[in-house]
Symmetry: C5
Subunit: 339 residues, 5 copies
C-alpha cells in the first residue's frame, strides 16, 4: 500500500465523536491505538464518527482498516487522492469517495481535496487530506440534543456530511459566475490579450469541476438504490435531495461551459472589430491624401511649358481644388459611416 498524492499536513489528526439521542462526547487523539482501544468496532448503540485529517500515515490507516474490518482495496483507494468520485458497496459497509472544492481567494484558483467515507452499521469514518472547517456546521448541529441528527443513525450522519459538501459547491458556482460576469464586462471595455489567457484558465477550471462533480451524480443514484440495511429508507428521502442539488450544480457547470465558449467568440469578434477600425483609419487617411499628393506632385514637375504654373492665382486655385476634393471625400466616408 502506498500513499498517492502530496502530504498536505505535517501530522495526522484524529477526532472521535460518539453520540446517541441522549449523550454526546467529542475527543481528539494523537495516537490511533488509544482511539481503537476506546472505540469497539461493533457498537452496542449510538453512532461513532471517526474523522482522520491527513492520509500520509499508512500504518495508522491500516490499523483503522483492520479494526473496522475494511477491505484492503478500500484502503488502497482512500490512500490514492487522484480517485474519481465513486461508491463501492461492500456487504458490511459502504465506501464513498467525493471531492471538496475550495476557491482560494488569495491565489484566485480552485483547490480540490478528496474526502473518503466509510459507512458501517453504526459508525462513519471520514478521511480528509487536510484539516478543514467543512464539517463544523455538522458538529454544531450534533451538539444540540434534540436535533434530527442526534435522533437518527449513522446513515443520516453521512447524509449530513455529503449535504455540507454539495452545498459548498454552490459557493464555487457563485464565485465562477462572478468571474464570468467580470470577464464579460471587461470584454466590452478592454481589448488586451490577457483576456484570452483568463478565458483559457476558466475553461480549465470548468474541466476540473466537471471531473470532480459529474461522477457524483452516479454515486448518489447508486447510494439511493443501495439495498443493504445500512441505509434506512427514511434517509434515502434525504439522499434524493442531495441528488437534486447535484443536478443543479451540473446545470450550472453546463451553463458556464456554454458561456465560456461564447466569451471566446466575443473575444474573437472584438479582435476582428478592432482590426476593422484600424483598417478604416488607414484607408481614410490614405484615400484622402494619396490623390492630393499626386496633384501636388504634378505641379512639382519641371516641364518648361506648364501653363497653370504661370497663372497669377494658379497656386491658390489648386489649393482650393484640393480642399474641395478633401471635403468631398470626407463627406463620402461620413455617408459610408466610416467616420
Amino acid at each position: 500500500m502506498v500513499f498517492v498524492g502530496e502530504a498536505k499536513m505535517p501530522e495526522v489528526k484524529i477526532s472521535v465523536i460518539e453520540y446517541n439521542e441522549n449523550s454526546f462526547k467529542t475527543s481528539t487523539f494523537g495516537q490511533i491505538e488509544a482511539v481503537l482501544r476506546r472505540v469497539p468496532a461493533v457498537l452496542a448503540n449510538g453512532v461513532t464518527w471517526l474523522n482522520i485529517d491527513g492520509l500520509h500515515d499508512i500504518a495508522l490507516i491500516e490499523q483503522v482498516g483492520q479494526h473496522f474490518g475494511i477491505d484492503r482495496l478500500t484502503l488502497e483507494d482512500l490512500l490514492n487522492t487522484t480517485q474519481r468520485p465513486k461508491l463501492d458497496d461492500f456487504e458490511s459497509y459502504v465506501f464513498l469517495v467525493v471531492k471538496v472544492l475550495n476557491f482560494n481567494k488569495t491565489t484566485m484558483s480552485l483547490e480540490i481535496e478528496q474526502i473518503s467515507f466509510v459507512l458501517g452499521k453504526n459508525f462513519v469514518l471520514s478521511f480528509q487530506e487536510l484539516e478543514g472547517d467543512t464539517f463544523n456546521s455538522v458538529r454544531q448541529r450534533l451538539h444540540k440534543s434534540g436535533s434530527l441528527l442526534r435522533r437518527r443513525g449513522a446513515d443520516f450522519l453521512l447524509y449530513a456530511l455529503l449535504d455540507t459538501i454539495v452545498d459548498n459547491y454552490f459557493v464555487i458556482t457563485e464565485a465562477l459566475n462572478e468571474k464570468i460576469e467580470d470577464l464579460e464586462e471587461r470584454l466590452l471595455y478592454e481589448n488586451n490579450s490577457v483576456l484570452i489567457n483568463e478565458i483559457y484558465a476558466l475553461k480549465k477550471e470548468l474541466g476540473q469541476l466537471r471531473k470532480s462533480i459529474y461522477p457524483l451524480r452516479e454515486v448518489i443514484v447508486t447510494l439511493d438504490h443501495n439495498e443493504s440495511q445500512i441505509l434506512s429508507s427514511d434517509t434515502k428521502w434525504f439522499i434524493r435531495d442531495i441528488y437534486d442539488h447535484t443536478l443543479q450544480v451540473i446545470d450550472h457547470i453546463d451553463t458556464f461551459k456554454d458561456s465560456a465558449g461564447t466569451l471566446l467568440e466575443l473575444y474573437m469578434s472584438n479582435i476582428s472589430n478592432k482590426m476593422n477600425e484600424v483598417m478604416k483609419v488607414l484607408t481614410v487617411i490614405s484615400t484622402i491624401f494619396i490623390p492630393l499628393t499626386f496633384i501636388v506632385g504634378v505641379y512639382g514637375m519641371n516641364f518648361k511649358n506648364m501653363p497653370e504654373t504661370e497663372w497669377e492665382y494658379g497656386y491658390f486655385l489648386i489649393l482650393g481644388l484640393m480642399v474641395l476634393a478633401a471635403v468631398g471625400m470626407i463627406y463620402y466616408f461620413r455617408r459610408k459611416k466610416w467616420l
Copy 2:
C-alpha cells in the same frame, strides 16, 4: 428552515377557493390562522385550492405544512426559489416545482418565477413568489358552474394550472422568435458591434430558458407514471397533452439555439465582408495613384539633361499618359468586380 431567494412582495397574500360541482366560494385572508380554522385538512367532498403569494414568511409556511401533513423536506424545497423543476412523490401527496416565465417588455428581459404545487387527495396548495395574473383564466373557468373543471377533482385543477403555465411558454417563444428575426434583419443592414452583445444576451436567455424548461419534461413523465390514487387515469390523458406541449417548447428552444449560433456566424462573416470592402477601397486608391505619383516624381527630378521636360507639349503628353494609365487600371478593377 430558511427562505432562499429575494422577497419580491412586501406582504404575503392568501386566497382560498372551495368548490364542487354545485357550489363555489372564494375568500381572501390576511392571517393564516383564520384560513386553517376554516379549511379542514381532510375535506369531506369538493376541492380546496389554497394559493399563497409571497414565500418569505417562514412561520406561515410551517403552519400550512403542519396542517396539511407536509414533509419538512418539501417545505425546505418550496422555500428555496433556486430549485430545478422537479416532482417528489410522497405517499399522501405529490410535490411539484415549476418555473413561470415572463418577458418584461419594459426591461426587455426574461423574468423567472418559481411556483410550487402540493397536490393532495382533494386539495391543491400553490406557492408563488409574486402575486400575478397567471391563474386568472383558471379562476374564471372555475366560476362557470357546468365547466369540466368544476366536475372533476383536485388532480384536474393541478392539470389546469400546469397547462396555463406551459401555454404561457409559447408567449415567450413567440417573443424570442421575433427577437431573432429582428436581429437577422438588422444583421443585413447594420454593421455595428452592439449586435454581438445582443446575440450574447440572447444566448444567455436561451440558457436560462433551457434550465427552466428541460427538466419539466421529466417531471411530467413522472407525473404521468405516478401510480398513487391521487391522479385519476382520466386526468393522465390531459397530462400527456401538457407533455406534448412541453416537447414542442423544447423543439422551439433547440431551434433558437441553432439560430443563435448561425446569427453569430452571420455576424462574423459580416465583419469579414466589411473588412474586405475597406481593403478594396484602399487597394484601388493606392494602386491607381501610387504609380502616377511615381511618374510625376520622375519629372520633378532636377537633372540638367532631361529631354522630355524641354518638349513643347511634354507636360500634356505626360498628363495624357497618366489619364490612360488610370483608365486602364479602373477597367481592370471593373473586370475583377472590385468597383
Copy 3:
C-alpha cells in the same frame, strides 16, 4: 375550442369514399349534415374514408367528432396546426398528426401543411389544411377493383396515405440536394455576400424539416407497437416499411446539415482567400513603387551640390536603375508565387 393557425381555404370541402372488395363509391358534399346522415358511425362492412379540406369551421369539426365518438382533446389537437407530429392511442381509435411538405417552386420556399388522421375500426378520417393533390394516387389505386387497397381494411388505407406522405419527403430532399449542389457550384465561382444569406436560409429550412420529420420516427414506432385490434399484424409489416423510409429521410437531413455547415466554412475560407488576394495586389504595387518614388524624390531635392544631377546621362542612368529594381522585385514576387 379554437382554431389555431391561418385559414388557408375560403370554404371547407368534404369528400367521402366508401369501398369494399366489390364496390366503390365517391361523393362530395357541401354540408356536413348530409354526410353524417349518409355515413353511420359504425359500419357493417367495407371502409369509409372521410376527407375534410380546411379546418376553420369549428362547428363542423365538432359535429364530426360527436358522430364518430372522438375525444374533445383530439379535436383540440387537430384544430391546432402548430402541433408536433404525434400519435395518441385511444381505445376506440388511433389519432395521428403528421406534416406534409411542399417545395413551392415560385417562391422557392418550403410550405408545411398539417394533416391529422383518425383511424377507427373501419373508417379513416383525414383533416387537411388545404385542398391538395397529395392523395390522388391513393384515390386512383382505390378505383381499381382488384387492388390490394380494396381487399384490405381501414388500417391499410391509413398505411397507404402515410406512405404517400413519406414518399413525398424524398421529393423535398431531392430539391434540397440540388439547392446544396447549386450553392457549392456558385461558391466556387461567385464571391458575393448574397450566398451567406442563402446558406442561412437553407439552415432554417433544414431546421423546419427536422422539426416536421424527426418526431415521425417515434410516431411510427408507436404505431408499430400498437396492440389494439385496429391495426392488423399484416399492415404492421407495411408500417415497418414506412419506418425504413423515415429513417432514410432523416439520414438525408443529417447529411444536409453537415453539408450546410461545410458550405459556411467554404464561404468563410473564400472571403479569407479573396482578402488575401486583395492584400497581395496592394503589397505588390506598394512594394514596387514606394522605393522608386523615394529615389525620384531624392533627385527632386534642391541641394546646390548634387553631383549626379550635373552628369550628362544621370537622368537615364537613374531611369535604368529603377527599371532594374522593378524587374528584380517582380522576379522576387514571381518566385514567392504572388504574381
Copy 4:
C-alpha cells in the same frame, strides 16, 4: 413494382452454385425459367446459392420471388437501390440489404453498390447491381471439398459473403487514410485554394461512407439476436466477428471525421499565416520608405531661405542620415522577428 436506380448492366446475369459436403456444381443461365425448373424451392439437402447481377428486369425478379415464396415488400425493397442497410426477419427467410464500396482509382471517387441477400433454410439468393469480383474468393473456397464452407449450411455461406464485404471496407478506409495523409503533407507545403475543395470532397465521401456503414452495425446485431432456426448458433459466433470488424470500420470513419475537421482548421490557419506574411512585407517596405520619402520631400520644397540646401555637403549629409534611419528600422524589425 418499379426499379429505383440506374441500370448499370445491359443484361441480367444469373449463376447458380449447388453444393454439399461431397458435391459442388456451378452453372450460368441466360433465362430464369431454366434456373427455376432446375432448382426446387425446397431442397432436400445441400445448399443452393443463386446470384443475380443486374436488377432492372422486374419480371425476372418477380418470378424468382414467387418461386422461393418471397414477400412482395421484400422484392420492392431489393429493387430500390437507394435503400439503407437493413434486415427484415420474415418467418421463412431473412432479408438483408448491404452496401458494397469501391474506390474507383481512375476517377478517384467512391462507388456504392447495393447488394441484397435472402437467406432461406438451405438457400441464399444474392442480388447485385453490377457483375463484380467481390465474391470470387468465396467461390474459390467453395471449390475446395474439405473446406468449412462446404461442411456448413446456407447461414454460413451468408456469413462468408458478408465477411467479404466488410473486409472490403478496410480497403476503402486504407485508401481514405492515404488521401488524408496526402492532404496533410500538401497543406504543409502548398497554399492554394484547391485544397479546400478537396477537403470538402473528402467530407462528402465520409458522409456517404457513414450512411452506408453505420446502419450495418444494427443490422448485424439483429442478425445475431435472430431467434429463428435459419441461423445456427455456431454461425452466430462468426457473425459476432463481423460485428467486431464493423465496429472497427466505424472507429476509423469517426477518426477520419475528426481529421477532416482538423485539416480544415489547418487550412484556415494557413490562410491567416499567409496573410500575416503579406502584411509584414507591406508594413516593412512602407515603414522604411514612407519616412524617407517625407525627408526627400522636405528638401524638394522651393522656399527661398532653406539653409541646408546651401551647405557644401548637405546632400551627402542627408543621404547619410537616411541610410542610418533605414538601418535602424531594419534592426528594429529584425529584433521583432519580422525579417
Copy 5:
C-alpha cells in the same frame, strides 16, 4: 490463418511460469514442442502462465491453440494486430484483446502494442507483439511466496496483468499532460507556425489513445458481468478497481481533447493579435507621414506665385507646423492605446 501486422521481433520467445501457493518455477523455451510436452492442457492444481513474445510464427500459434483447445476464430483474432480491444466469452475460456501504450521518448511518439490473453480454468496465455518489461512487476510479485498473487488462481493473475497495463496508461496521460502544458507555455511566448503542426499531431495522438482505450471500458464491464466459473467473485472486486481506473483514464483523455481544442483557439487568436499589431504599426507610420508628405509636396510645386516660399522664415514655419502635427497625431494614438 494469416498474421496481420508487422513482425516486430526476429524470433519468437516462449516463457512459462508455473506456480501454486508453495512452489514457483520459471522456464524459457526456444521450441514450442518442448513447452507443450511439459505443460498439460488440463492442470491438476496450480496456475500456468504461458507467455509468447512475437506473433509471426503461425504454426506455433496453431500448435498452442490445439493444445489448449482454443477456437480458430480466437487464433485469427490474436494474429491480427489491428484489433479493437474486445472480450469474447467462450464457454471453456475467456479471450481478451487489449492495447499497451508506450511513449517513445527518443521519437517523442506514441507506440501501440497489442496483447491478447486467454484465461482458462487454471492457465493464462498471453501473446505479445514485442518482448517488453511491462509484466516484470507481476513476475517479481509471483516470486514472493506469501503474496496474494500466489494464493489465488489464474483469474487473479489475469487481473494483475490487466492492472499493470491500465496503470501504465497513467504514465501516458502524464506525458501528454506535460506536452499540453509545454504547448500552452510556448503559445504565450512564441508565434511561429510550427505550433499548429504540433497541435495537430497532439490531436492525432489523442485519437489513437481514444481508439485504444475507450473500448476497454466495455471489455471490463463484460468481464465483470461474466457468469462462467472461470472468474471467482473475489476477483471481480478487483476487476471493478480496474474499471474505475479505466474511467479515470477516459476522463483524462476527454479533458485533453477539450484542451487541444482550446489550444487551437489560442493559436488562432494569437495569429489575429499578431496581425492586428502589424496593422497598427503600418497605420501609425502611414497616418503620421502621409499628410506630412502632402504638405512638403505642396511647397515643392513650381507655381510662379507662391507667397509662403518668399517669406524669410517660411521654411522654418512649415517645419514647425509639421512637428506640431506629428506630435498631435502621436498624442492621439497614445490615447487610443495604439502606441
